[in-house]
């Protein structure tokens, strides 16, 4: 039986109740198409943002259209997300310690085609196996921050996930074990319009092993080799990536509790010689009771400090020269409180987020963070309202047999 769901109302109680269970060996019968949309209006105050200057800015962040479909009794499935940040977030979003794709201290906009992956799944050897192709997440690391409690990304996004790649991946799940491997394109996007293409396809690979020892508990280790982007006109380096995490989600009376602890490391290599290593440890927890929710995140991550452009929130990509200005370690403590409610067919979630962060240079280089920011410590305060309708991704980054039953939340 086919089902079509469009923008159906939900209540606040429908949040994050997606305890992770092993994927069923036999997909459910029938077909379904679920659609959804959401966006967040956000006001952020960063003190200081740069050179002892406080900035207050407003954004429409994470405006997305989402879709998930199953066909042929669930043997075929598709998941997709259009991300419109290229229209709303071109200057980037003030975010503590964030970096990547030519942005620094502001999160870059994602590509319009954030995810579109087709999967075929079949029972194999007492389990379920799948092949997935499309553009999305390589089988590495943890869930995309968009599917986690905070609106503000952690600064380890480029260490702990590999999004927006053209990929082909295989997954096999049996009992409490899920194994994945995939090949993909190494290139990071250069623009929101960049849909990738097949340049360098197959030169990068990733593998992830996940164990589900008990309901709600997920342990993963993964590694990836990301080949230098051959399209890059400049110094491009190979990346060797490692990730380990433990994730728990359990229902509580009238709500749920969620926790994630992750470690990630990326080392950058030139012709086999390691030149830089960046590392992250992150822990986050969220508690939901009725319409109210709260979350806490602690992160300790390192990042490169690079030459800055006339816009001091941008860096050349890549460098014309060979050195970093330095390597900094950031410690970021973030908190969030929210209240979810249904407004007609919409989910409405007003929230407040705050973070305190401190930064130190690690290598003894000429870079002085106090000189850069004006103070040794910084505060970010954000208030916002997320509106959504229809289905939404509550997990992001796994496909086919590697997906749990809780990846999409449908009304």
């Amino acid at each position: 039986m086919a089902a079509l769901t469009l923008a159906t109302a939900t209540t606040g109680a429908a949040a994050q109740n997606h305890a992770h269970a092993p994927p069923p060996a036999t997909p459910p019968a029938g077909a379904a198409l679920h659609l959804g949309a959401s966006a967040t209006g956000l006001l952020t105050r960063a003190a200081p943002a740069l050179a002892d200057r406080t900035l207050t800015e407003g954004y429409l962040t994470q405006p997305v259209l989402t879709a998930a479909a199953t066909l042929a009794g669930g043997r075929l499935s598709a998941t997709g997300m259009l991300n419109l940040e290229g229209l709303t977030l071109q200057r980037g979003e003030l975010t503590a310690g964030i970096w990547g794709e030519g942005y620094v201290d502001r999160r870059h906009p994602h590509t319009y085609l954030h995810e579109l992956v087709l999967s075929g799944r079949t029972p194999v050897a007492g389990g379920s196996a799948s092949l997935s192709v499309g553009r999305g997440f390589a089988p590495f690391g943890t869930d995309d921050p968009m599917a986690r409690p905070f609106i503000k990304f952690p600064l380890n996004h480029h260490l702990a996930q590999l999004p927006e790649r053209v990929l082909a991946s295989a997954a096999w799940a049996r009992g409490p074990v899920v194994a994945e491997a995939g090949i993909f394109t190494g290139a990071e996007p250069r623009s929101p319009e960049d849909v990738g293409g097949l340049d360098g396809f197959g030169r990068s690979w990733a593998a992830r092993l996940t164990a589900l020892p008990r309901p709600g508990l997920e342990l993963q280790v993964s590694t990836a080799r990301v080949a230098a982007d051959q399209r890059i006109r400049g110094i491009a380096l190979d990346h060797r990536k490692y990730s380990a995490s433990a994730r728990a989600e359990v229902p509580l009376a009238g709500g749920s509790a969620y926790g994630l602890v992750e470690w990630a490391r990326t080392s950058e290599h030139e012709e086999g010689r390691r030149v830089y290593t960046f590392e992250s440890v992150l822990g986050e927890a969220a508690l939901r009771r009725g319409a109210w929710g709260g979350a806490l995140r602690l992160e300790r991550s390192t990042r490169p400090e690079e030459e800055r452009l006339s816009d001091p929130f941008r860096t050349p990509y890549p460098h014309a020269d060979a050195h970093l200005v330095g390597v900094t370690r950031w410690v970021v403590v973030s908190g969030r409180a929210e209240h979810r409610r249904g407004v007609g067919p919409l989910r409405a979630t007003p929230f407040v987020e705050a973070s305190w962060q401190t930064v130190a240079e690690l290598t003894g280089s000429i870079y002085d963070p106090v000189e850069q920011y004006g103070r040794a410590e910084q505060w970010h305060l954000s208030v916002g309202l997320t509106l959504g309708a229809g289905m939404r991704h509550v997990r992001m980054g796994r496909y086919g047999a590697a997906r749990s039953s809780g990846h999409e939340q449908t009304p």
Binding site: E193, D194, R233, E270, E307, H323, G364
Partner: protein, 415 residues
Amino acid sequence: MTARRSAGPLLLALILAVATACEDDPVAPIDDDEEELPVSAPLPVVGHGQVPERYTAEVAIHGSWAYTSSWSNRGGNPGNKVVVWNIAGDEPVATDSLIVPFASTTGDVQVSDDGQLLMVATERTGGSVMLYDLQANAARPPLITRYNSEATNPGVHTAKFGRVGGTLYAFLSIDPLNTFPEPVAAALVILDLSDPANPVEVLVRTMGQPFVHDVFVRDGILFTALWDAGLTLWDIGGGELGGTPADPVELGNVLTEGGNVHNVWWYHDALTGQKRYAFVGEEEVGGSIGFSSGGDLHVVDVSDMANPVEVAFYHVPGAGAHNFDLDEENGVLYAAFYNGGVRALDVRGDLSACSAQQRAADGRCNLTLMEREAGVGLSDVSPVAVWGVQHRGTRVWASDMVSGLYVLDVSTLQR
């Protein structure tokens, strides 16, 4: 004077020099009585001009004036400033500055051979060169023109003057730019500066792997530092292949050990007339400015320009080569070595003649083991990140990214 090298190589050099002189070569024999330079002598600091608010980049000298450019962004201050220094005394005195609009980095600065022009390269998007009139006022040089074109737009990383057939040209190494959907490749742009107020673009040529980083021009020969594509020599009027600045013709290429060819200097020994060596700076990928860097100085024998060959190298553990200046009267190369400070090398004579103990496994001579390191400056300063050096007489001015402009006494390195 410190006695150092064994007599064997010197004698060999002398015999070779005499032999080549007998073949009507203009290279003069090395003076038997010429004083040798010390080994690794400390080069004392005699002056220090402070620039605390920006990262200092390159330095250029003109008479009693020095000009230092700036890089990136320090504490909210972009690298859009060129500081003008009075260097009549040992202590540099910042007397004025040039603010370059639109620039995030003014990475390269140079004075023309006739002392008329000051050229400043600007990065990034909106890249250009600024030409200032030193003849009119060296203390506050007025802007003649800002040259910018579609070809220079990604950013001018380095800019060098070069005179060919009496005409002054500017050689601009253009940054690559990873625009979408098509990236812009790095290129060499050459400007005819016959009328400095109206530069004429005579060449735009894509080159380098992944970019062209710097050039050196002398006697109608263009040397291009092409990173992993090595060092390429071009006839632009001084060779026999009919090349011109508008149409350079390749003479030869050499892939130096380690690649990452960053800068080059073709050495003409004022005493011997020898033009055998080009010195190549390698900038190794990795490191953290002011703390660690890597990359050797490579000696390339360009006697046969069609087949240049690397014959020697100089390595500083934990530090990497950056820009050079040559005291060709005394045969001393001064090299910026970032956190390794300033290194002075005795480059007179045969750098390819060394004992088995002074030779690396690949056959190249090791200048350190040959005791060619004549002086070391700023090795006791930390943090320090020396970007560029300029030599005049008994002084070397070293631009330090961290603190500004040092002045070193190199009177011990006069022969």
